[in-house]
Symmetry: none
Subunit: 246 residues, 2 copies
Amino acid sequence: MMQNGHAPIIILVRPQLGENIGKAARAMLNFGLTEMRLVAPRDGWPNPSAGPAASGADIVLANAQVFETLGEAVADIHHVYATTVRKRGVTKPVVTPETAADEICAAPGKSAILFGAERSGLDSSEVGMARKIITVPINPDFGSLNLAQAVILCAYEWSKRQQLVSPPATEIAPPAPQAELDGMIEQLFSMLNEKGYFYPPDRTEVTQGTLRNLLTKPGWNSGEVRTVRGMLSVLKKGKGDARTPD
Amino acid sequence: MMQNGHAPIIILVRPQLGENIGKAARAMLNFGLTEMRLVAPRDGWPNPSAGPAASGADIVLANAQVFETLGEAVADIHHVYATTVRKRGVTKPVVTPETAADEICAAPGKSAILFGAERSGLDSSEVGMARKIITVPINPDFGSLNLAQAVILCAYEWSKRQQLVSPPATEIAPPAPQAELDGMIEQLFSMLNEKGYFYPPDRTEVTQGTLRNLLTKPGWNSGEVRTVRGMLSVLKKGKGDARTPD
């Protein structure tokens, strides 16, 4: 699993709808976060609406810990981040999810990210529990992130920094060796020559240079070069005499 | 506003629920993307469920363009990306949302990102229209991104680059719009068909898909596409009846 000692704990403070708790769990697990804490969920816990919305992230919900106060929920946490839209009068550092993820991955000890109630967000005493604030740089003319979206962006940034979540390695074949490409180009030039394409003669070199550039650009692999050669053969002689591609 | 000439267009292919179209619009506008296209939305358009789910992103929905086919929707696009979970046998480069955002910000011409239907995703012929694939590096044990989440991560990565990236001054011609590429491909298919290349008939679709992938890969610009079409004309009719390439 991707989880390591520094994976941040997601703390939902006074969440309202069970559905949103489930969606947050799903967002977390998509990016390898598994530890959720709930502070004074409005409708109690467990909440029957959470499971269906989690789309299979039941393990996160099953292991969620519930606390009556935020103080209890963060008692063992070394680095508390509060998510909020930026407010006047804030006297704490404000960081992006990117920077927070960098810090969390480098920090010794446990980190947690606080998310407030769906509409009202975190109040100032709750923000006061945090050392730093995370603000997502959002469209200033339309800021409308919901809880699960805020969670997923923080989880995604954390996940990007984990060695185990490497970008998908492409299994793409390398470009064909130059000799194979040259064979294909010669075949084409020969066909074009028969049809009178290289006329007038004094422009032949320039024209061939143009075509060579164009045919080098794709980076076709050996199989693709064979396919092109097969097509050329068919265009010249018809299917009966030509090899079928692949 | 953050919007600039290179902001990617979000194309939802065969979206099912209006609610999900609305959520995608909200996700887009949160990060400054405003241009949405819909290909064959299952329940028609406009859809009364979309507006409430957009949470105020009505401008995106109001301006959404609807197309019957994906081919029409991407006709004017130079850089088409397909989002997909990883599949075996993919013969295109696979990039992360991060890398795609880097590329889109640096690329001349219009870019678009395709998102498939909610459950089934993009089919292989739809993926075949794209030059590259975007895959979000997700928890391998629990991959459950919904449409709006996939959209928001791509939009977020694009948005992050807007403060930093100035419009590129590259003089490289962009890939030809998709419609020009399609014209070239149709010309080739027609010639191959006359020569009996597509035999047996039950393999035609697969073979055409292979060729389309191969011909999409180069990213030929408009001039290169014209050159290829000129060559094809000469191969068919000889120099006398064909246009000379520049």
